[in-house]
C-alpha cells in the first residue's frame, strides 16, 4: 500500500534518503512546477520555430503533471496521479496532432517560422 500521509516513509529508501524526502514540502514542488511552467510559456511566446513552441507546450503540460503528483502525494489520495496519467496520454495525442499540423503547415507554406504565419489575420 502506498503511503497516505507525508509522515510515513517508503521502506525501500535508505534513512538518509527518507529524511531528505521528508524535508521536502509541497512548496518545493509547486515552485519547481511554476518555474517549469514559466519556462514553457517563455518558450511558446518567444521561439519562432513551431517545433520548439511545441516543446514549450510539453514543458507546460509536464509542470502541470508535477503539480498534480505533488498534490496527490500531500493529499494522500490517488486522484491527482490518475489525472496525471490522463495528461500524459493527452500529451502524446496532442503531440501527434500538433506535429501533423506542423507538417501540413510546412507543406503548404514552406515554413515553420511562426512569424511568417499570420493567415489568421484575414
Amino acid at each position: 500500500m502506498l503511503p497516505t500521509s507525508p509522515g510515513k516513509t517508503n521502506k525501500i529508501l535508505s534513512p538518509e534518503e527518507g529524511k531528505l524526502l521528508e524535508s521536502l514540502t509541497l512548496n518545493h514542488f509547486l515552485t519547481l512546477s511554476a518555474i517549469l511552467f514559466s519556462l514553457g510559456v517563455f518558450g511558446v511566446m518567444t521561439r519562432r520555430n513551431a517545433v520548439v513552441v511545441l516543446m514549450g507546450i510539453e514543458l507546460m503540460l509536464n509542470s502541470a503533471n508535477i503539480n498534480l503528483i505533488a498534490f496527490s502525494r500531500f493529499n494522500g489520495n490517488l486522484d491527482g496521479q490518475m489525472l496525471a496519467i490522463f495528461v500524459i496520454v493527452l500529451a502524446a495525442a496532442e503531440a501527434a496532432v500538433a506535429l501533423a499540423i506542423i507538417l501540413n503547415m510546412y507543406s503548404n507554406l514552406k515554413t515553420v517560422n511562426l512569424d511568417e504565419v499570420d493567415q489568421l489575420k484575414e
Binding site: 510559456v41 511566446m45 511562426l114 504565419v117 499570420d118 493567415q119 489568421l120 489575420k121
Partner: protein, 650 residues
Amino acid sequence: MQETIIQLALAVLILPLVSYLVQIFAGKRLPRQGDWLATGFLGAAFLIALYIAIHFLSAFDQTLSYNLNFQWLNLGKEWSIQLGVKVDNLAAITLAMVTLISFLVHLYSIAYMHDDSRYATYFGYLGLFTFSMLGIVLSDNLFSMYMFWELVGLSSYLLIGFWFQKKEAAAASTKAFVVNRIGDIGMWLGILILWSQFYTVNLDEIIAGIQNGQFTLSNTWLTIGGILLFMGAVGKSAQFPLHVWLPDAMEGPTPVSALIHAATMVAAGVYFVARIFVILSPDALTVIAVIGGFTAFMAATMALTQNDIKRILAYSTVSQLGYMIMGLGVGAYSAAMFHLLTHAFFKACLFLGSGAVIYAMHHEQDIREMGGLRKKLPITFITYAVATAALAGLPLFSGFLSKDAIIAGGWGWASFHGGGWYNVVPALGLTAALLTAFYMGRQVFLVFFGEPRNKEKYDHAHEVPAVMWIPLVVLSVLSLFPLFSLNPLSGDAGWFMNLIPSLQTVVPGIDGAGKLTELTELTHHAHWSTVISSVLMALVGLAIAFFIYMKNAVDTDKLAQSLRPLYLMSFNKWYFDEIYEVTVVRGNIVLAKVSAFFDTFVIDFLVNTTGFLVGFFGLLVRKFQTGKVQSYIAFALIGVLVFFVLKGVF
C-alpha cells in the same frame, strides 16, 4: 336540400374565380382570347343562381336560410374564427342579380372591348370582380366579408385603371383605392370592436348574442361600432363625404362602370349595412339616414350641370345609393333592398346604353355634341328611355315602386320621431326625386331628341351590334313594374317586400317589434301622399327639362349666368375635390414632409451614429488582430493575469 343549395351557391362563387384564373394564365392562347369561356362561365353561374333563387321563391318562406361554416383559425378555446356561407332570401336574390348583370356585362364587352390589346386580361378582371362581390353576398361572418371587401377594392382598382396609359385613368384608380381604404379602416375597427367583445365574427351569433343579452355592450359602444362599420359602406357605396371617387371611376371602360354602379362594388356597401342592420343602434341609424338623405340630394344637384354622359349617370348612382342608405337609416329595410335590386337593373341598362351611345359616336362622351340619336339608335333609345323612366320614378316602372317605398318610409320615420328636423331627411329625398327627373330628362332630350349638334359624328353613328343591344333589352324589361308588383303604384303587395320583410332591431332597451309595427303603420299612412308628391315631382322635373331643352323656352346660358354661384357650385361638384385637395391631400403632404424630416434627422441620425461608433471601435480593436498565434497567446495570458490581479485586489 340544404347541402345541394350550399354546394350550388359555392359553385356560383367559384365559377367567376375559375374564369379569372383561366383568363389570366391561359386567356391569350385560347381562341378569341377566351371571351366565350368567361362569358360561358358567368352564364352558367347565372343559371345556377337562378335555380337557387327559384328554389327560394317557390318555398316563399321569410325565415328560410341555409348555413354552412367551418373553423378556419383556432387560437385557443374562445378565440377561433369561423368562416362560412349563408344563403337566405336576400342572398339568393342578390346572387341572381349580380350574376345576371355580370353575365350581360361580359356579353356586352365582347363587342365593346373587341379591339383592346388586353382583351383576355379584361375578362379575367371581370371574373375576379364578380367573384369578390359574390363572396360578400354569401359570407355569413364579418371576417370573410372583410376579405372579399378588400378584394372588391383591388379588382375595382384594376378595372378603373384598366387603361392605365391614360393619366386620368391611373389617377382615378388610385383615388378610388385610397378613398376606399379610408372607409375600410373604419370598418375594420368596427369589426374589431365586435370581436373584442364577443370573440366571434359570425353575424348570426353576434345578433343572437345581443338579442338575448348574452353579449353586453353598452349602447354607446354599439353606436360607435355601428358607425365605424358604416364607414366601410360610406367608402364602397360612395356616400358623403367619401363619394368623390365614384365620378372619377368613369375613366374605366363603360361596361365596367355598369358593373361597378349596378351589381358589384357600390351594392356591396348597401348590402353590408343591410346585413348588420339589426344591431345598429337608433343613434347610428339616425346618422346613416342623415348621410343617406344628404348624399341623395347633394349628388343630384351635382348631376344637373355635368356634360359628360357617363358622369351624369355616376352622380345619379351616388344619389340613388343615398336613397338606399337613407332607406336603411329610416328603418325601411325592405324598401332599401328592393331599391338595390331595381336600381341594379335600370342603372346597368343606363350605363350599357350610354356605352352604346359612346360606341356609336366613336368615343364622344359630351352630350352637347350629341342630339337626335333616336333615329340612329332606335333600340338603344327605347331601352334608355325605359330605364330613365324607372330612374326618374315614373309610375309603371320598377324604380317608382322602390323609391316611393323609401320616401314613404322616411316620412314614417320622421313622424315616429315626432317630426321637427327629422322631416328634413325625407324632404331631401323628395327634392332629389325632382332633380333626378330633371337631369335625366335633360340627358335624354339632349342625346336622343332635337337636331344633331355634331353633324359629322351623327352621320357616322349606327346601331350597335346584337351582343350589345340584347343586354339592353333584357335589362329594360327587368325595369318594368309587373315583374316586381302587380300594383303599379305600390310595391307593398309585391313578392319582394313580402319575401324580405323589414327586420326589427335587436338592440337592447328598444321594443323592436313595437317599433317596427309603428313604423310600418306610419309608413302606410304616408304612402298615398308620397305617391302623389313623388309623381308630381318626377313630372315637374321632366316638364322643366322638356321646356328648357326641347322647346328652348329658356336660354340655358342666360339661366346659368343669372344663377351663377349655384351653377358654379353644381358644375364644380360643390368644390369637394378642391376642398380635399387643400385639406386632406396638402395635409398629407405636410405630414409626409414632417415625417421625412423626422426620419432624416432623428431616426437616420441614431442609426448612423450607431454604425459610426461600431466602426470606430472596430478600427481600434482591429490592431490586436495580428494573425500571429503567439500574440494571441500573449493576450490570453495577459487576460488571465489581469483576472488574477483583480481577484487579489477585490
